[in-house]
């Protein structure tokens, strides 16, 4: 187990290093830099001013040097300054993380708590009308553009209640806090719930065909015991993987949802930072997301070990 852990950690470091290189150079390929954007906002370009500014921000240096500055700072915990706000990047990023994390967590919770039970029901009732209905609903969850869904929710709530669940930075009551996150989380979670449901269903169907399910029935176990005790426990593995991968995909959904619901989280912030070519923010934030994603995958692998005794990492 220990050896496996070390190996995994090593591979994670390799991946993270790769990501740092990719994101760094990808960003430099994107035409235009912060200086261009600033001048675009100022409506004029003065070559001398531009050169000065580039020098001041250090983006006139060779790429390798810039990369080294960034990565060595990153490793020391020095994340640099945002080009736009001129505040420390960390100070910009950190306060926004909990917001997105709460949203993502709630969305995943939503996805798991709705997707898994419905998936099981759909699999157990395979071929019935209920199954068909659930499948259609879940497929439509995968077919609706999420910004569209978010806008519909907003429009409907204004039209019907004259109220709108817009982000509230200082919720007073528990209920307000919940309302702030629940609706957008549900809007994002709908898609992942649909996905979770589908995976649960197919995984359950797969498991339900296995010989040991027949064995359990042959022992006289009830349907419920078979479905939940024997089958779900085996079927949950692929679901965990998908939820793990979904965690990475969620960021995409969050970008859109945070925009629609105007939530000041990291996802939208990232898009803005890309728009502004705010390298220190984009680079560090992407690295942060990558660390989370890579660790999420790692956790999923570890969960595998918990759920599946066959997986032994010692070989």
């Amino acid at each position: 187990m220990f050896a496996y852990l070390v190996r995994r950690l090593f591979l994670m470091l390799v991946t993270l290093f790769g990501i740092s290189v990719v994101i760094f150079f990808l960003l430099r390929i994107v035409p235009g830099n912060i200086v261009d954007i600033l001048f675009a906002a100022a409506g004029y370009v003065d070559p001398a001013d531009k050169a000065n500014l580039e020098k001041e921000l250090g983006i006139d240096q060779p790429l390798i040097v810039q990369y080294w500055h960034w990565i060595s700072g990153f490793l020391r915990g020095d994340f640099g300054y945002s080009y736009v706000s001129e505040k420390p990047a960390l100070q910009e990023i950190l306060p926004r993380i909990p917001i997105t994390a709460r949203l993502a967590g709630l969305a995943l919770l939503f996805s798991a708590s709705i997707g898994i039970p419905l998936g099981v029901i759909s699999a157990v009732k395979q071929g019935t009308r209920l199954d068909y209905a659930l499948r259609v609903v879940s497929l439509s969850g995968l077919s609706l553009p999420s910004f569209w869904l978010g806008l519909l929710i907003l429009t409907a709530s204004v039209a019907m209640f004259g109220q709108m669940p817009i982000f509230n930075p200082n919720p007073q009551t528990w209920l307000e806090a919940f309302a702030t996150y629940a609706v957008p989380a549900a809007a994002v979670g709908f898609r992942s719930a649909a996905l979770t449901m589908r995976i649960t269903r197919s995984s359950m169907l797969e498991v339900l065909r296995q010989d040991y399910i027949r064995t359990a029935r042959a022992k006289g176990a009830s349907d419920a015991a078979v479905n939940y005790h024997h089958a779900l426990k085996n079927a949950i593995l692929p679901v965990i993987t998908v939820i793990g991968i979904e965690a990475a995909f969620l960021i995409g959904g969050l970008i859109v949802t945070e925009t629609v619901f105007n939530i000041p989280g990291v996802a939208r912030f990232l898009v803005e930072a890309i728009r502004w070519r705010d390298y220190p923010i984009v680079q560090n934030l992407v690295m942060f997301i990558a660390v989370v994603v890579v660790f999420a995958n790692f956790t999923v692998d570890m969960l595998y070990a918990v759920f599946d005794p066959r997986i032994r990492y010692t070989d």
Binding site: D211, Y212, T215, R217, K219, G220, H230
Partner: protein, 335 residues
């Protein structure tokens, strides 16, 4: 004839059909047989002839959809299982009637400890504490001769070798001391030396517990060594039934006859050079496209016009030796 009370299982005119993509077919067609207390009945036949479906039908575990039992009766210790509702049937399954499956590798739940799987079987049918059930589980593992049963009970299936897994399956099946045990090719996946061990074990336990045993196999050697009575199936139908001695001495159905001749035997001594085997020409028919008359007719050397038109009835050819062949009387002579 056996006394009523001696009969553990009485299957009459069992019919199981499958509805599949390619159409409906009868996987088990009008099969009847009985098993007495302590008796071993072997069911032989080629792959796909309906042996496993017969066994699953007895357990009422035919996957539905696509399968369904459409006729007949299965009477276990006087109760018609096919008439029970699902809850009543659950009380009987694993309790009065148990089954060991073909694949010991896949028939155990990979994420549950061996011991727990046996405990579950026990506690489903007996109202005892989990502690007691644990003890019974370890006891059962000892009974099937697993070394260090207490330790093994805490292991997961993948930590056991194939032979041990099959033993664990047997322990689980016998945990409630059922009246009838169905063993569906319990040794096909195992090596011969292990197969011998497992078969010997099953027979020992059967004797000890007085269980009726239905042993499904395609290995005539296994049949000869274990069973008292044999039924031979071909394309979903029972084509022959006899005591093991009678069957091996003089098979009455041309298929059984061909089968026996085509299976090579280990030369006890002094076999000359390479020998051609007797073969049954043709291929095993698909159940979906069965010929109108006798399903074996296309491959049968004795086939006559009538065979193609009419399915021969299962007739008693003396001493309870049943065979479904118009020309059963001639089989011995011709071959």
């Amino acid at each position: 004839m056996a006394k009523e009370s001696d009969l553990v299982l009485d299957v009459k005119n069992l019919k199981t059909v499958f509805f599949t993509n390619s159409g409906l077919f009868k996987a088990v067609d009008d099969v009847s047989f009985t098993v007495k207390r302590g008796e071993t009945l072997a069911i032989v036949g080629e792959s796909g002839c309906g042996k496993s479906v017969t066994a699953l039908s007895l357990m009422r575990l035919v996957p539905d959809p696509p399968g369904r039992i459409v006729g007949g009766s299965v009477t276990l210790e006087g109760t018609d299982l096919l008439a029970l509702d699902e809850a009543q049937m659950r009380k009987i399954r694993g309790n009065r009637i148990s089954m060991i499956f073909q694949e010991p590798m896949t028939s155990l739940n990979p994420v549950m400890r061996i011991g727990d799987q046996i405990v579950e079987a026990v506690r489903l049918h007996r109202n005892i504490s989990s502690k007691e059930a644990q003890n019974i589980a370890v006891e059962m593992l000892r009974l099937v001769r697993i070394p260090e049963p207490a330790r093994r009970a805490k292991e997961y299936p993948h930590q056991l070798s194939g032979g041990m897994r099959q033993r664990a399956m047997i322990a689980m099946a016998l945990a409630c001391r059922p009246a009838l045990l169905i063993a569906d090719e319990p040794t096909t996946a195992l090596d011969v030396t292990i197969q011998a061990q497992i078969l010997a074990l099953i027979l020992d336990l059967q004797k000890e517990l007085g269980t009726g045993l239905v042993l499904i196999t395609h290995d005539l050697g296994v049949v000869a060594q274990t069973a008292q009575r044999v039924i031979v199936m071909y394309a979903g139908r029972k084509v022959e039934e006899a005591s093991v001695e009678a069957l091996f001495a003089a098979p009455k159905h041309p298929y059984t006859r061909g089968l026996m001749a085509s299976i090579p035997s280990v030369p006890a001594s002094g076999v000359a050079a390479q020998e051609r085997l007797n073969e049954i020409p043709g291929t095993v028919p698909s159940l979906v496209r069965l010929p109108k008359g006798c399903a074996f007719a296309p491959r049968c050397k004795l086939a006559i016009k009538r065979c193609e038109a009419e399915y021969p009835p299962l007739a008693d050819w003396g001493g309870g030796h049943l065979a479904a062949c118009w020309r059963a009387a001639e089989v011995a002579e011709v071959a």
